[in-house]
Symmetry: C2
């Protein structure tokens, strides 16, 4: 058998390897470590290295086309066939590639996005000084000056009149003014006076995404489109309930609504304080705001009772809010600033989804596209430029870590990815922040469940196989469970486990979402396999591992290249609407265009849900790539009874 | 000498009287009392009786043409020349004739004033119930219903959206709505939703007059024009200063402005509480408000710093406020109600004057008219339908009782009218409420000063003649003074006096107002004697005694018939503007039409003021009726040196 010269970079070590040897074996031969948490099964992607020369890739799971073009190969799945050079990327580079480059690959959004159509204009005005012969009042003098500057009939809100006398005199009758020339609610004007100061005014705007869990904001220079600063913070309402339903219930208690509204205002205040500390820009300098959020969050933001959202026929009070003034809402920016809450579609498909649809271009594409936003709920849009159909799946908050014994939100100390060795069943995990684990976040749960399934620790019905020869599986207080981390390794000093009940909750959540896909596709007569691109939005989507999500049947089994991870599409669409009234117009069209399907009124949903309550699905044929792995593994064990036809 | 039979009614007593005897003598001969507080000089008008038969009136001062037509004559000035019947009116009737019929004779105002142009419309709406197939949101459902009812594009304020969900469901989708179809600020619409309830809605409005001293309001049924209730209360700001200048100074202190604004809000709340107690109508049912007041009061009402009003060149921040929402102002009515603050003319000619000008018809008359409103300040309008000229005289608050040792406001215990016997110099006075006196109010001060002047107690320069043989004149702590009431007669147990310093203050006040007349007339080249009607507005004007006011030189010396007393013209004009957008339009024209003369910038004012610092005036020829009385009295004493040419 021929041997080949293998150079390993950046160390420069050289080893001889026989034809047919694995790249991973050559690396180990040189005395170097190669990470193989999946046990060398080509599933985790952690052993990716760059290879140049005689090598053949047996499998390239978890590698994108960009990765392949850059010469990446999985060390455990690549066979040596000639001389070659292997470059082991730095650990940090692997992390970034895994988390950022791939998982958060951003669709080509026009950042920064400059537009003449943002509507706010600031400039300096020169007025004649008053005297005893010209005793025109301040307001009329200002209006005359604005008319001469080309802006007749400017509306001046009371708040501006209140500060006008001082500002005009301080500026010695040459004040800076900010006008809203046009807004979404009145594209034809008249202009409104937003600000009047002795000091120069920069037109600044705020894009806000109000999530059930997280509130995020961009401070934007409206002239240049530059995102000056970004901040995000947990929604302070969490103290009153983790999901929208518990918030709605809380809102109907005495003072519950105003407490929730205040909490949200305080959260935004916190963001603005942080922005001010970093940039020196105070809230009162912000002259325009655009807001997206799910329908319940928008109701709570505006102080509107959300109760009807929760009871049949699930009617929100408002899907298409008018623009209101910051002062009347209680948003702590310039009280004269208009606040444009973007249009939603229905009680459970809010403006976060319409903004996301704008950002992800689903309404302008020729390709059959599936847009999903898995946050605390799962909302789905399917369609092309010609039609759009949408629904919401009450997935529950399992993917936010709620309803799971050791579940937690994706903060420091959360296990965010897990690999299980298919021989030893021992896990390897990555913890956010790098310290000891405290629990498992959503992406960690998906990853863990997928690993347990493909390594055979749980069966297709989600049962933990206690008969396995591993101390990791055991009968716990909550029934059968798998131990991810021993007490000694954890921050809390307690074992971190995944129980059978947790598995059931996760399966219900993933089944609800997959059933949503099924119902949408069926309702327009297309097959999920026809979907040409899957666009994943939401902060959760940013860290989701598609391969694992496919393995548990959360996402449809499509080629890797069809998936794109867009990050916070809601905030991106909000930013676009802030900067361009044309984009705002387009967003309104998109919201109108979306046909909403109420799943609770749809019998086919229940059937689809039941069918999806297996790993990955009752009809495993829907998941060919998973079937392949599973069949390979299941050679070692019997298939669950009647799994293909429950 | 012939004797005549005199029958005295209603007693039926008969006496014989000689030719040339006075009616008052015949009455006394019958053993009856006749009130002659002026000492039978025909000045006080208190001895008016009805006569039928042989009698000749020597003088009819204080009697109107209506009085004469009704057979009234002054008993002290009517000579018996044949048989006659005398009817002595009841005391109560005299009072009413004096105070109400004459002093508050109302110009022919169209009360109640019904108009289709008031702009607010209330009706019941029927909406289709939502269901799972028709899951339109509440706001869109309401908008669709309004469109079907003939009202497309209705603007729905956030406050309405907040209550909409509950109101629609409570009303079982047949809510009552109130729309503002058009308002002053947008005569062309679009309509705005003002109210949405399950219960029937009546369109109600509020007219408010904010005086420096008193705030008055009418609750009005906007459909019928009926004034449902009226209430008035002292302006709670009085605690922070009696006049506008001290309020402006207070407003520039820390929190001063917001304290003043709050006090005013509390005063209006008090009025509304009282209205609610009497009528059951809560503030939240009031859907429209129109407000008048002097420029400082309007600034304070709207929370606008009034500081520039006080410093040259006396520029207010706003003369023509836009309409604002009750909620943003803090007016405790329906927060969605528009509040229309009427237009003023200048810093010291506010919307109380333009509303008054509307109410008194000065802008539509062919007759040269002088409209004056003597409140805490004195504002004057001179003109006809073709031109209007206006000014404000800083009369100071002397006529409000301030700056006068025993001055007080016109409340219970105030001496409101005084007569001085020209022989004994003893006074007779009338006290508001009829009890013991506590001080002297504005009308009492005018009356007292006039009596002291015509009886010779004070000279034309305003000096108290200490040399008179009366214990009423004396050297007091504050210099020479006249005692109106002895300590034993008063509520306070102290003498009530008028000092030389008080007289000086009153003379400065009256001189400022008369100088205003002079400057206005001169500036357009007319003579004050050409004035065809003098219209006196303001709550003070309601109780002013014209004859006395002429005697001290406060009002021009014109025939009695040319004077009319209109009461609160500001509130009347406000009521008209509330009920008719046409009247509101006319009011705006009137305000624009008025040419303002800033007296502080006018040298001729100072000359006119100095000339008016005599009783009644340096040029006594300007006051022929006063000259006649004074010359008659001054036969007993020397004229003041150089009085006609100081």
């Amino acid at each position: 058998m021929a041997t080949h010269k293998v150079v390993i970079q950046p160390s420069g070590l050289t080893v001889e390897a026989a034809t047919g040897a694995l790249v991973s074996e050559a690396i180990q031969q040189a005395g170097l470590e190669v990470a193989q948490p999946c046990g060398g099964q080509g599933r985790c992607g952690r052993c990716a290295v760059q290879v140049e020369g005689g090598a053949r890739r047996r499998s390239s799971l978890r590698l994108s086309s960009e990765d392949l073009q850059a010469g990446y190969a999985l060390a455990c799945q690549t066979v040596i066939e000639g001389d070659l050079t292997i470059t082991i990327p730095e650990q940090e580079k692997i992390e970034r590639r895994m988390v950022t480059d791939k998982a958060a690959a951003r669709i080509g959004l026009p950042f920064p996005y400059s537009s003449d159509l943002q509507g706010v204009h600031a400039f300096r005005l020169s007025l004649p000084e008053p005297n005893l012969q010209d005793n025109t009042d301040d307001l009329t003098r200002l209006s005359n000056g604005l008319t001469l500057a080309g802006y007749p009939h400017v509306e001046v809100p009371l708040g501006m009149v209140r500060h006008m006398g001082e500002a005009l005199r301080q500026s010695e009758w040459t004040p800076w003014v900010a006008l809203e020339l046009r807004s979404w609610s009145r594209p034809e004007g008249p202009p409104r006076l937003l600000d009047l100061r002795a000091e120069p005014i920069e037109p600044l705007g705020l894009a806000i995404d109000i999530g059930t869990t997280t509130v995020s904001a961009h401070l934007v220079n409206l002239s240049s489109g530059e995102v000056i600063e970004t901040a995000a913070e947990y929604n302070g309402q969490i103290a009153f309930g983790e999901d929208v339903i518990s918030r709605i219930i809380y809102a109907s208690k005495n003072d519950g609504l105003s407490s929730l509204t205040q909490r949200l205002q305080q959260t935004i205040e916190l963001l603005l304080d942080r922005i001010q500390k970093r940039t020196g820009v105070g809230g009162d300098q912000i002259l325009k705001a655009v807001v997206a959020g799910n329908t319940t969050m928008i109701h709570l933001f505006l102080g509107i009772p959300p109760a009807p959202i929760r009871v049949a026929p699930y009617i929100p009070t408002v899907n298409l809010p008018a623009v209101y003034l910051a002062g009347e809402i209680g948003l702590p920016i310039n009280p004269q600033a208009v606040v444009d809450c973007l249009p939603g579609v229905a009680s459970y498909v809010g403006s976060d989804i319409s903004a996301g649809a704008l950002a992800c271009d689903i309404a302008t594409t020729d390709h059959l596209t599936l847009f999903i936003d898995v946050g605390t709920n799962g909302e789905i849009v399917l369609g092309t430029r010609d039609w759009l159909i949408t629904c919401a799946c009450s997935a529950g908050p399992a993917f936010e870590g709620a309803g799971v014994v050791d579940g937690m939100r994706a903060t420091e100390g959360a296990i965010e990815e897990v690999w299980v060795n298919s021989t030893t069943y021992e896990p390897t995990y990555r913890v956010i922040g790098g310290g000891k684990p405290r629990g498992i976040c959503g992406s960690g749960l998906i990853s863990l469940l997928a690993e347990l399934f493909v390594t055979g620790v749980v069966d297709r019905a989600g049962a933990v196989k206690l008969e396995l020869d591993s101390r990791r599986v055991r009968q716990g207080d909550h029934g059968p469970e798998y131990v991810v981390a021993w007490a000694a390794e954890t921050e809390t000093g307690r074992d971190i486990v995944l129980t059978k009940v947790d598995v059931d909750n996760l399966m219900r959540a993933k089944a609800a979402i997959y059933a949503g896909f099924t119902v949408l596709a069926a309702s327009v007569g297309v097959s999920l396999s026809d979907v040409e691109q899957v666009l994943v939005g939401g902060s959760f989507g940013k860290y989701i591992n598609v391969e694992k999500a496919v393995q548990i049947g959360l996402l449809p089994d499509l080629p890797w290249e069809r998936f794109r991870f867009l990050g916070n599409t809601s905030l991106q669409g909000t930013y676009m609407a802030l900067l361009s009234l044309d984009q705002r117009q387009l967003l309104a069209q998109v919201a109108r265009q979306m046909t909403y399907i109420e799943l609770s009124a749809d019998n086919s949903f229940y059937e689809a849900f039941t069918a999806a309550m297996f790993l990955p699905h009752t009809e495993i044929a829907r998941f060919p790539s998973v079937a392949e792995i599973w069949e390979h593994n299941s050679a070692r064990e019997p298939a669950p009874g009647g799994a293909t036809n429950p």
